[in-house]
């Protein structure tokens, strides 16, 4: 359960970071009519976007490597 929760959390967080950084943190989209279009609204917003992409795929690693909740008891799987 813990595993699924962590994985889902990472995927959701990753996509959320991507969306937020793409649309709200990075430089605005549209016809560049002023200097505001040349600067990200938050510095290093593109790095946040990349972090988001990585989190989504990191979820797979977490899913496979996270130990079963409750230590080493493998429930019914041996």
């Amino acid at each position: 359960m813990m595993r699924a929760a962590w994985t889902l959390l990472l995927v959701v967080a990753g996509f959320a970071l991507q969306a937020v950084s793409y649309f709200f943190l990075a430089a605005p989209l549209g016809v560049p009519t002023g200097p505001v279009y040349s600067n990200p609204r938050v510095p290093f917003a593109p790095a946040v976007f990349i972090l988001g992409v990585m989190l989504v795929f990191l979820a797979a690693v977490v899913y496979e490597l996270l130990p079963e909740s409750g230590g080493r008891t493998h429930r019914g799987t041996g």
């Binding site: 793409y22 549209g30 990200p40 990349i50 990585m54 989504v56 795929f57 690693v61 799987t77 041996g78």
Partner: protein
């Protein structure tokens, strides 16, 4: 655990003299590339053949960008194979899965490295892209999705897929045992773990497929949405990039699979069905690409928009004609070679009627002479100055014809062996892929100016050739070294 291994499989950890010699050659080429790049760092990009578009009559993007596009294209193979195997349950392709994934990773590393020399300020490039990158620029997708996301996703997939084998190898005493144990990270190949890996890999494959399309498309959009460059501005650009990526990636995978089939003597595991399957897929992709090319040429010439026609003529009959027709010829010949094994054996293939040995000798001589002629005539120039060289046109065409005869002379072999056909097809389509990448990048700059600057030219210099050669050597080096520390194929159940 059901699988037992006594010694490291597939030549892992065994180093012969030949191997070290090979590494030495690769290292020296890499070193030469680094030297060339250091010249460029010191002198500036003036040591390349690149120049400004317009009054300087040059191309601002050249070999580096073309090979960046090519390397990103090659990376198509790995993820596609992984996705195909997982989603379509093509179990018989399993043995090439890791080769393909490694090809993806190496190709993406090379892609990142081939952009760097194109930048005038490489250090600034790395910092400023992370700091300021704008989503509106088509480069945003290229470096966030392709270089970072795609590479990371491939690494994750590769890592997870390799855990089982790492766990197996960790039981064999070897100097690399610690590395394998680290990689396995506690994997014990229990049914539960296996089930979990299958599920994770399945979802990863599903997540990667849309990334595949977007990543290769963003690279197409770098060119496709620029209305100021005839020949670039086209809706077909992004889809054509995806298809061409498949062509070059699968083509190279065929070659690599054949190399390992030969070097490792794994004729059983790398069986012909794999080559037949990959060859069929490649032939299909080539057909789609040829269709795109025809559609593109018709669109640009039919309406007769002056600048588009000028550019298309430069491709078909002008200074780029030799590259265009060599690429198209390689694509078509590759397609035919790939399809030959499918010709039913009741239909005898009687292409050449001369003795093969004679034809091959003639063909080789022709290819060599053609190369010498090209170099003598233009220097290794992409767009020769008007009226360069005293040789009449027909000499080139005769040589090209002989080269075709050379390829044709091998056709009986291709009809017999699907592996040989795959290798020939893979090599030919990769020649075409490089050519087409150059034809996308360069002519639109030299012959696609909308103001009447007149035609320009672009001649790569030794620095550019050396850096690209160094990149290829680096890729081969990384690939070869990895093969020596980790099995390139999944360790078989029966071992």
């Amino acid at each position: 655990m059901s699988v037992q291994v006594q010694r490291l499989p597939y030549g892992v950890g065994r180093f012969q003299v030949g191997f070290w010699l090979f590494i030495l050659v690769l290292l020296s080429v890499v070193g030469w590339g680094i030297y060339a790049y250091s010249r460029q760092l010191v002198e500036g990009l003036v040591v390349t053949g690149l120049r400004d578009i317009g009054t300087m009559g040059g191309a601002a993007w050249g070999l580096y960008i073309a090979f960046d596009v090519y390397f990103v294209g090659v990376s198509f193979a790995g993820i596609t194979m992984a996705a195909l195997i997982r989603l379509l349950r093509l179990e018989e392709l399993r043995p090439v899965s890791r080769m393909a994934e490694l090809l993806t990773i190496v190709a993406l590393v090379l892609a990142a490295f081939s952009v760097l020399p194109d930048l005038g300020q490489p250090v600034r490039g790395i910092v400023n892209l992370l700091r300021y990158a704008r989503p509106q620029s088509p480069f945003f997708g290229t470096f966030t999705l392709v270089i970072s996301g795609y590479l990371f996703a491939s690494l994750v997939y590769f890592y997870l897929d390799g855990r089982r084998d790492a766990a197996l190898l960790a039981r064999i005493p070897s100097p690399l045992q610690g590395f394998y144990r680290l990689w396995a990270a506690g994997y014990r190949d229990t049914p539960a773990e296996r089930e979990r890996h299958h599920r994770a890999a399945f979802w990863l494959a599903i997540a990667i497929v849309p990334l595949l399309v977007t990543a290769h498309s963003t690279l197409g959009f770098v060119f496709g949405i620029q209305s100021g460059r005839p020949g670039w501005f086209s809706t077909l650009q992004a889809p054509a990039f995806v298809v061409m990526a498949g062509v070059s990636g699968i083509g190279l995978l065929l070659v690599i699979a054949a190399v390992f089939r030969h070097v490792l003597g794994e004729r059983e595991r790398l069986h012909e069905a794999i080559f037949r399957w990959l060859g069929g897929l490649l032939a299909l992709l080539v057909l789609v690409y040829l269709y795109f090319t025809v559609a593109e040429l018709l669109t640009t010439t039919y309406t007769g928009h002056e600048t588009e026609v000028r550019l298309t003529l430069a491709l078909l009959t002008g200074p780029y004609a030799w590259l265009f027709w060599v690429s198209m010829g390689a694509l078509v010949l590759g397609l035919v070679a790939l399809l030959l094994p499918y010709v039913p054996s009741v239909v005898p293939v009687r292409v050449p009627s001369f003795r093969p040995a004679f034809t091959r000798a003639a063909g080789l001589a022709a290819a060599g002479a053609g190369l010498l002629l090209m170099i003598h005539r233009h220097g290794p120039r992409l767009a020769p100055a008007a009226g360069a060289g005293p040789e009449p046109e027909w000499v080139g065409w005769v040589l090209a014809g002989l080269a075709v005869v050379f390829v044709l002379s091998w056709f009986p072999l291709f009809a017999r062996s699907v592996v040989a056909a795959g290798v020939a097809g893979g090599l030919l389509v990769n020649v075409a892929a490089v050519g087409k990448r150059l034809l996308i990048v360069v002519p639109s700059q030299t012959h696609g100016t909308l103001l009447p600057y007149g035609p320009g030219s672009y001649t790569p210099t030794w620095v550019e050739y050396s850096v690209v050669a160094g990149l290829f050597a680096l890729g081969t080096l990384l690939y070869t070294l990895f093969v020596k520390v980790f099995p390139i194929m999944e360790v078989a159940e029966e071992q």
